[in-house]
Amino acid sequence: MGLTDYCFKKSLWLFHFAGASCNNCDIELLDCLTPRYDVERFGMVLVGSVRHADVLVVSGSINQKCRSRLLTIYEQAPKPLLVIAVGACGCTGGIFAEGNTFAGPVDSIIPVDLYIPGCPPKPEAFLAGIVKLLNK
């Protein structure tokens, strides 16, 4: 493992893309930042601009309107970039997959590196998922 790889893993900056979600995953993701879970001890911070992002966290089902935005955002992020699909909706479309505006789960639009299922996944699940990904 080279130095850059090591540093990359030690310093993941998250950009949060909320699709057509029910908010739960987003809130639980924010919860990860807060005192009980504190992802900053792994060097993770939430960033406001996708230009700074190392990880694109996608939560919620993706509807027609989000779809193009998701693609744009994915393109606008600097590579290397990890993509995490959070929640049942992010992984599969979940409860909203039958809706008339549904445009496919995240991985039908952009390549996904990590799935964190759950409705919503607990923050612990999120952390565990990240750790798994980093040890891959």
Binding site: F17, S49, V50, R51, R69, T72, I73, E75, Q76, P78
Partner: protein, 623 residues
């Protein structure tokens, strides 16, 4: 060639060239231009030659030998001899050198810049005549000779503003009236000096400002200098001139030549002709710093970029006035150096503005944007000039401002009231520099950065005649900044200002070397290390497609500031031109004449009453 001949050349040659150019018909525009450039080049060569000479007093009274010694004319000539004295001292030669430089550079630029629509009549003729008379004014030792040259410069200035439209005509009128009035006041001042019995030769004049009359004379003369240089409150012609005259003429007159002349005269006044007392120093310092602050505050809210530059032309004068008012060698050196630097970058900025205006036809910052993509050379020059005027080390603006700050701090060790208030001068002068930076951020980004409109995609930035002057001036900015302490100040400035010692340390060359090294290193990193990893992509607009209406227009950057309670009031007043001495005077004149016309209503009984009332009053006084 004797110094005398060189001196003749720098004055007579340009004037002669201008006269000759009158004869060439208008359609041979380029011929005229090329001839003018040649003349300007020769003039520059002579200026350099002159600069190399030593100081001496020269009589330019020609033709004395031709007249028989016994002729009655000899007596007249003997009278004229004292009048026709020229003083080729360090200050004068320095100014002549720079007049020559700017004449040449801007002449070349004008050749490329002017096209038929905006071309003032006989542009090059007036241009060269201006150069010649400027040299004359700078060299003149006798005050009356000086006033002669100076007065004619007012006329040529008027001729140079006149452009194609009515606005420029009204600007020309305003300029002419202000300058003319100030010249009149100057003559009054000279009369006062004569009345006081002092010699009218500048070099031997050393008037103590003890009582009212010398002070009045000083004030009369200084008003002339301030008007020429554009210091508050006599500045108001400069922004108008800058907005409406062709940019090349703005670069020539208010940005460089008028600064050189006005400040030259201020230098003479403050440090040679008069011995300033404490209170005058105080007043002059107040004028200096208020010019800095007011000019830059006005510039901050301008939307017309030429007007913005015009206000900066005012603001920068404040530094020089401050420097000379200090009266210490350090302050004089700072003022002098700043004068040169300011002339360089300010005329450069007008050249940039001229190019932008020429290519786009727009005057307003909000109509422009993104021009850096199509005008890289101009952009580079603009960045250098802007940073220089904002006083960012290691460019020249910083070097001279730094000298002035040093001067102020050293000045603070003195005893007088003005000395004790040094903190005020220092803080305001430095703050003016920060404000300058702020308004140049607006200038730079509004014009050159941001979204480029499609109409401007075809602009080409490769015309040598236009690019070369900009690059030359930008290079001068860098050289004068980097080698300030090592070369420019000891070689050029010290001979004029006198020896001085620094209180601070500024090793510009070392620092510049480091800056250069880091820039090279940065470039290397980009080229070698991440070159392949650079990707061009659309701007990130939070996931949406970029909308060109989106964003924060640079032109509105300082709205928050202009809307703060106190400043809003001031800006409102400024908008209504309450601070414009021209408008105020005009208003006063109109008011008085209105009152008079009300009195002259043509009804006989009323006149009778006036006459009787007048008689009664006279009787009362007599009794």
């Amino acid at each position: 060639m004797s110094t005398q001949n060189v001196l003749h050349m720098v004055i007579i040659l340009p004037v002669l060239a201008g006269m000759v150019l009158f004869l060439i018909p208008r359609q041979y525009f380029y011929t005229k231009g090329i001839l003018a450039c040649l003349a300007a080049l020769i003039n520059l060569v002579f200026s350099v030659l002159l600069f190399g000479r030593s100081s001496e007093m020269i009589n330019i009274c020609v033709g004395k030998e031709l007249i028989p010694a016994t002729s009655a004319l000899q007596a007249v000539i003997a009278q004229a001899e004292s009048f026709m004295m020229m003083n080729s001292d360090g200050l004068g030669r320095l100014i002549v050198l720079f007049v020559g430089l700017f004449t040449f550079v801007i002449c070349v630029y004008s050749l490329g810049y002017l096209f038929s629509r905006t071309r003032p009549k006989h542009y090059f003729s007036w241009f060269m005549i201006t150069a010649g008379f400027s040299n004359g004014a700078v060299m003149a030792d006798h005050v009356l000779l000086f006033i002669f040259f100076w007065g004619i410069l007012g006329l040529t200035l008027y001729k140079l503003v006149r452009g194609h439209n009515s606005l420029s005509a009204s600007a020309a009128k305003k300029t002419f009236i202000l300058i003319g009035a100030s010249d009149g006041i100057m003559i009054l001042g000279v009369a006062l000096i004569w009345h006081l019995g002092y010699p009218l030769s500048m070099s031997s004049m050393s008037i103590t400002t003890g009582n009212a009359l010398p002070v009045a004379a000083f004030i009369c003369l200084v008003i002339g200098a301030f008007t020429k240089a554009g210091a508050f409150p006599f500045h108001s012609w400069v922004p108008d001139y800058a907005s409406y005259a062709p940019a090349s003429s703005s670069a020539f007159m208010p940005a460089s030549l008028d600064k050189l002349l006005g400040i030259y005269f201020i230098a003479r006044l403050f440090n040679q002709m008069f011995i300033l007392n404490e209170w005058i120093t105080l007043v002059m310092l107040i004028v200096g710093v208020s010019t800095i602050i007011i000019g830059v505050m006005m510039a901050l809210v301008q939307h017309n970029y030429k007007r913005l530059l015009g206000y900066h032309a005012v603001s920068q004068v404040g530094y020089m006035v401050t420097g000379f008012a200090l009266g210490t060698p350090l302050g004089i050196a700072g003022g002098l150096f700043h004068m040169l630097n300011n002339a360089i970058y300010k005329s450069g900025l007008f050249l940039v503005a001229g190019r932008v205006e020429r290519h786009t036809g727009r005057n307003m910052i909000e109509d422009l944007g993104g021009l850096s993509k199509v005008m890289p050379v101009t952009f580079f020059a603009a960045v250098v000039f802007s940073l220089a005027i904002a006083g960012i080390p290691p460019l020249n603006g910083f070097a001279s401002k730094w000298l002035i700050y040093q001067g102020i701090i050293e000045f603070g060790k003195g005893e007088g009231v003005a000395n004790q208030l040094w903190i005020v001068w220092l803080v305001l002068a430095m703050f003016g520099s920060a404000l300058t930076l702020a308004s140049f951020v607006k200038f730079l980004s509004g014009i050159f950065l941001g979204h480029l409109k499609d109409v401007y995609l075809t602009i080409k930035d490769n015309r040598f005649l236009l690019c070369a002057p900009q690059i030359l001036l930008a290079a001068l900015c860098i050289v004068f900044g980097v080698f300030a302490a090592e070369w420019v100040i000891p070689k050029i400035i010290v001979s004029v200002s006198g020896e001085f010692s620094y209180t601070g340390v500024w090793e510009s060359a070392t620092v510049s070397l480091m800056v250069a090294l880091s820039i090279i290193l940065g470039l290397l990193i980009y080229v070698l290390f991440v070159g392949k990893k650079v990707r061009i992509d659309k701007p990130f607009m939070l996931g949406e497609q970029a909308d060109h209406r989106a964003g924060f227009p640079v032109a509105e950057f300082y709205k928050t500031i202009s809307e703060t309670p106190f400043l809003r009031f001031m800006y409102k007043a400024a908008e209504k031109k309450y601070f414009d001495i021209y408008e105020v005077a005009r208003g006063a004149v109109l008011g008085v004449s209105k009152g008079l016309s009300w009195l002259h209503q043509g009804i006989l009984p009323v006149y009778m009453i006036w006459i009787i009332a007048g008689l009664l009053i006279m009787l009362l006084i007599v009794m």
